[in-house]
Amino acid sequence: MEPLEIGGRKLGSRLIMGTGGAANPAVLERALVASGTELTTVAMRRLDAGGAPAVLALLERLGIEALPNTAGCRTAAEAVHTARMAREALGTDLVKLEVVFDERTLLPDPVELLDAAEQLVDDGFTVLPYTNDDPVLAAKLADAGCAAVMPLGAPIGTGLGIRNPHNIEMITASSPVPVVLDAGIGTASEAAQAMELGCAAVLLATAVTRASDPEAMAHAMRLAVEAGHAARGAGRIPRRFWAQASSPVIPGQDGQE
């Protein structure tokens, strides 16, 4: 599998993981290793007294690059501030930009998102925006200088899969930057579908961390992303309405005659 290039980085794995929802650090570690990921999200929160950034130590030990997000931000101003804090804390220019409209849907606020993306690109960030499955917004984010666009398959944590595959395919068909399917994946077939639709990578967390066996699901997701990517490259057959025999029609005769 050729490497994924995002923001000048080359990643051997096309599965970007999240760390949220894992029952404990040991489960998370086994899942991350099984996923084969090289890039994994972390959130920024207030430091509790005596708290240590344990998740960073884990990622460092596993050789996985941290991708800070701006989860919890509702305005462009909040997201820009959180991104700048993340850059200072982690020493990275990467940011998964999230600006959500409300807690009930966690859907991206397109107006605030685009505003924040423009400010962060100007400030030198490598911006990976979590966006709606809207081809117009995706085009505007790419035009603003984002290093990738990350449309949702379904709302965060729902596991509903890819609700509008045609929109995702319209985005991948015209995007000048890599498209990462972010959020909504519930099981491996949906990760494979994202890749078959032309996505460059898949970002998921809940589907693995809250699975009955996170390590096994992480492994399944790794295989699914690789299989979907390979299938996309192989070129699927056109859909047909009627059957087309794949064996000779009459025994002893060549079906092609």
Binding site: M44, L47, P53
Partner: protein
């Protein structure tokens, strides 16, 4: 000793007047790596912790990375 109040992640702390960011962080056991500090909403780079002095009523925010996303 002259003292003042600052706000550390919204908790009020009484500190000596003229306390620097570096001293406040050290006294609260904030680790050197993996954290970011903002003073009244502006990021203070690690290299400036020792020179930025707090004044009465300053709001100090300390963030770190946690599991998420």
């Amino acid at each position: 000793m002259e003292v003042m109040d600052v706000w550390l992640n919204d908790d009020r702390r009484e500190v000596p007047a003229g306390t620097t960011v570096a001293v406040l962080m050290s006294e609260h056991g904030v680790p050197e790596r993996g954290v970011a500090v903002a003073v009244d909403g502006a990021v203070v780079p690690r290299a400036s912790w020792a020179t930025v002095r707090l004044v009465d009523g300053t709001r100090v925010e300390v963030l770190t990375a946690v599991q998420g996303g």
